[in-house]
């Protein structure tokens, strides 16, 4: 951060980033109010004081693992197996980290916080959003993270306090997170939109309008056109298909509790085998990636 920056200028930077991040996190707000709410309600029903779910929400901040920890706390004391279980359940964070090495680069004190708050939802948004021109990238991601964490802590607290008292059924509301992931997936599949606003339909493979449009809801396509051995859209679809097909196959083979690790292993293997076709040369890196990947030396070891 520029030390000499005037205070009102910095406040303006924050306000712009906050306004860009807020609408994108609204599905997370809905999802976490109810998911965090059911977590708080569960903790209450199992006889925990509010401090337990709150402490877990604060220090662990990984939804599925927090639900599992409720069960761990009700079982025999087994810290080593709890630790190993955590590594297994959260192994997908390793892939998130690899994906965000570039995007988090050079963000100083913000970086540890962004890493600590890397959950499925913040990853989905921070890895896919083309941060609009004039919006500070670091602060944008910081607000996505801080808001998501606030929603989760708020939902947990509300659920513990009043979860049992809701007058209407919220059954099915958890689908909002499926809808969030699916919409991001579809946006990545369809690639960059032409023009501005939501009226644009499916576009062609060209993505020369990267800088055009100002909708904060655009999803970036991290890969550039050209330089690769196949058209960008084909390559993008192939990557997305590998993600879905490998996961679905492993889900059918190993079941819902055990499919994540084999799925990640399978993807890794396929990506390494297919590298010749899937890789793009470093020179063809997109504008917001150019900052950190553009300086890759094409040195051979």
């Amino acid at each position: 951060m520029n030390v000499g920056m005037e205070p009102h200028r910095e406040a303006a930077v924050l306000a712009v980033a906050f306004k860009a991040a807020l609408p994108l996190t609204s599905p997370i707000a809905v999802g976490f109010l109810f998911l965090g709410g059911s977590y708080g309600l569960l903790a209450h029903a199992k006889g925990f004081s509010l401090w337990y779910p709150l402490a877990m929400a604060f220090f662990i901040f990984a939804g599925s693992m927090e639900f599992i920890t409720i069960n761990l706390l009700l079982s025999a004391f087994a810290p080593v197996s709890a630790f190993l279980l955590t590594l297994m359940v959260n192994a997908r964070h390793l892939f998130y980290g690899l994906s965000m090495l570039g995007r988090f680069r050079g963000l100083g004190w913000k970086k540890p916080y962004l890493i600590f708050t890397m959950i499925d939802e913040t990853f989905a948004i921070n890895s896919s959003t083309q941060v609009p021109l004039g919006v500070d990238r670091g602060w944008f991601m910081m607000f996505v993270s801080m808001l998501s964490r606030a929603y989760w802590l708020g939902g947990t607290t509300l659920g513990w306090l009043v979860g049992g008292l809701l007058p209407f059924s919220t059954h099915g509301i958890e689908f909002v997170l499926t809808a969030l992931f699916l919409s991001i997936f579809l946006d990545q599949w369809m690639g960059e939109k032409h023009g501005e606003g939501a009226s644009a339909t499916v576009d062609s493979a060209s993505s020369d309008l990267r800088e055009g449009g100002n909708s904060s809801l655009r999803v970036r396509s991290p890969e550039p056109v050209g330089a690769s051995l196949m058209p960008d859209s084909v390559r993008r679809h192939l990557l997305a298909l590998i993600g879905v097909m490998v996961s679905a196959t492993c889900l059918m083979m190993f079941g819902p509790e055990r499919f994540m690790i084999p799925a990640m292993g399978g993807m890794l293997a396929l990506f390494l085998v297919l590298r010749t076709w899937l890789d793009v040369s470093a020179s063809g890196v997109g504008p917001d990636e150019g900052l950190h990947s553009g300086d890759i030396q094409e040195k051979s070891v």
Binding site: S75, L217, F271
Partner: protein, 111 residues
């Protein structure tokens, strides 16, 4: 709760530590000051797309194909989101529309 407080604190502690490790490890192995190997850079470029696909499957993993509603509400809602998104290309509209439709289906139609 069957555990003593210190046991609960230790359990929450090791879960927090394990989670921290999964999050920070890639950044510790490949810090800003070090240029990651080309293979890692390549994985960083291709993984986001595939991981979004994995998240979609992950969020549908508890769908029951062979009992209850046989996954019909999920399939209908997913198709609705695909059509809505292809038509309007508005993320919040797709999310809200799909979720409301799913809630109606599981609460009123496939009870």
């Amino acid at each position: 709760m069957t555990m003593a407080v210190w046991q609960a604190v230790v359990t929450i502690g090791v879960v927090s530590l394990g989670t921290l490790i999964t999050r920070f490890l890639p950044f510790i192995v490949f810090p800003d000051s070090k240029q990651p190997p080309q293979t890692i850079e390549y994985l960083g470029r291709v993984l986001p797309y595939a991981m979004t696909g994995l998240l979609v499957v992950y969020s549908l993993k508890d769908m029951t194909l062979f009992v209850g509603a046989h996954g019909v509400p999920e399939v209908i809602s997913v198709l609705a989101i695909v059509v809505l998104h292809w038509w309007k290309r508005d993320m919040l509209l797709s999310i809200a529309g799909g979720t409301v439709l799913y809630m109606v289906l599981v609460q009123l139609v496939f009870v």
